[in-house]
Symmetry: C2
Subunit: 348 residues, 2 copies
Amino acid sequence: MADHSFSDGVPSDSVEAAKNASNTEKLTDQVMQNPRVLAALQERLDNVPHTPSSYIETLPKAVKRRINALKQLQVRCAHIEAKFYEEVHDLERKYAALYQPLFDKRREFITGDVEPTDAESEWHSENEEEEKLAGDMKNKVVVTEKEAATAEEPNPKGIPEFWFTIFRNVDMLSELVQEYDEPILKHLQDIKVKFSDPGQPMSFVLEFHFEPNDYFSNSVLTKTYKMKSEPDKADPFSFEGPEIVDCDGCTIDWKKGKNVTVKTIKKKQKHKGRGTVRTITKQVPNESFFNFFNPLKASGDGESLDEDSEFTLASDFEIGHFFRERIVPRAVLYFTGEAIEDDDNPDM
Amino acid sequence: MADHSFSDGVPSDSVEAAKNASNTEKLTDQVMQNPRVLAALQERLDNVPHTPSSYIETLPKAVKRRINALKQLQVRCAHIEAKFYEEVHDLERKYAALYQPLFDKRREFITGDVEPTDAESEWHSENEEEEKLAGDMKNKVVVTEKEAATAEEPNPKGIPEFWFTIFRNVDMLSELVQEYDEPILKHLQDIKVKFSDPGQPMSFVLEFHFEPNDYFSNSVLTKTYKMKSEPDKADPFSFEGPEIVDCDGCTIDWKKGKNVTVKTIKKKQKHKGRGTVRTITKQVPNESFFNFFNPLKASGDGESLDEDSEFTLASDFEIGHFFRERIVPRAVLYFTGEAIEDDDNPDM
């Protein structure tokens, strides 16, 4: 019965209230006359945890009223905070433009379009101080190394398989990559993050730039992440800044027979009446990193997603965020593994 | 010997190189002729982890050179990122001014200087929809509650022990609070965060505002945190934004006999020659939350801190950050416990 959920100390009318009060008195009398029940009761009461919310319940109504007023102020703070994060997003846009020339140079070194000068490729390793102690010896080694480099070693163009190596190094990505995805990912030449224009709804696009290849004719595959920086009406206090709320992929123009996101299965079909058997072929979805460009839709038909889909989508958002926040800004460190060590042992 | 650290595969001159090559050949021959050694060796080789850095080692010199160039670009990115965080800090400053009127109102409701209006103290609880179903019944209950409030309940000023309750609710703080600190903390009326002025070195001050009390004559106790937003020269890739690098406390003008940060101990002292015993009293440091205002110094004399001091300082920085980022902006949620539940079960 609906009434029952409110029966705890909340009588529904004054007659019932009087009845309850009388019952309460009777029960209290009974308990007070039974020392064993009383002791057991005391023990139970002692074990009730004194949580902050149980403390709030004990406060006078006038104080609770003032706490409500503080909560209203807190909601207003959440809305100001949302504006703050929008301005931070504007700053991120501004800085994206400042990083871009460095990222362009990075792409040129990776593809081999441009060779870094000696000054551009100087690097002082962490062990350098130690190495300096070795003095003359080291100089001789350097000469040997240089000779080796010119005499015997191959000199491939740029940094081969740069982005593919990052996919291999980052667990979150390598889990998605199938064996048949690998030769395709070796053609990946750059990943860019593009922010939405000022005044537009908050979003960003991941652009995956590919060199011409035998698998698809697109030169760029895109994944767009839509964000929201607004406290939830039902739960304004959970607001912690912008979050990804939806995403969109792109159509991949697969060359004939090269689409790794589907597989062809053969199925035997028996005619019910005649009993004859025929074999039909059917295309079914196939596991592949490239399903990343054909994500589930979070919104749209208003229906809520099942638990599995919720999980898949949350993982997708996490990957999108990780590309934007970590991999694209620090690609070389994910290539060498330096950023990966940091993630395992956060040193904060 | 210093040379030894470079002996692995790096012969120091060509004579030694030739000698090593001959030794290597001999050893290889021996191994190849012993199947058991060979099997054991194979197993060991299989267990060598293929880390990203071991992969980098296998790359041709020309490619390593290009990777160095990417690292140089990455350092330049870190310096741009530092500027970005400085601008974010400016934004935080700007928004601090926007929050302040709400925080001032909060303080007035807490101290009881101002009573919230009915509109200001309206609050729709999460269970409201459910409660609405109860319709008429609920109205009657509300009347009963109001009667109770006016007829029987005490009506203390403002929200008593608001900040002290937060200290009790937040583990990181309650661990520092001693029994004798509690009556002092009940006089705490507000905590404010003040950012450094634009153009000044990045820092913030926590101001603890106290009502007049029997313990000290200060009305405000301060703790200043100095920050740095600059990649470390020795390890630029570890840069993740501004961090607290040092802090400063303030002098507490304790009233006579009220200083809880020291305790007086009595000590018996025996005269070596005469064998007479006298009792001396000595003031020694005492555990107290108020030691928060007399922190260790991170910098200054150039000497590095021992491990214990490093840990103490790191905890202090963490508490300062927590006050600024969480407690001051969301005080009511730490008072009611709502923010604490969120921290235990991060729902992201």
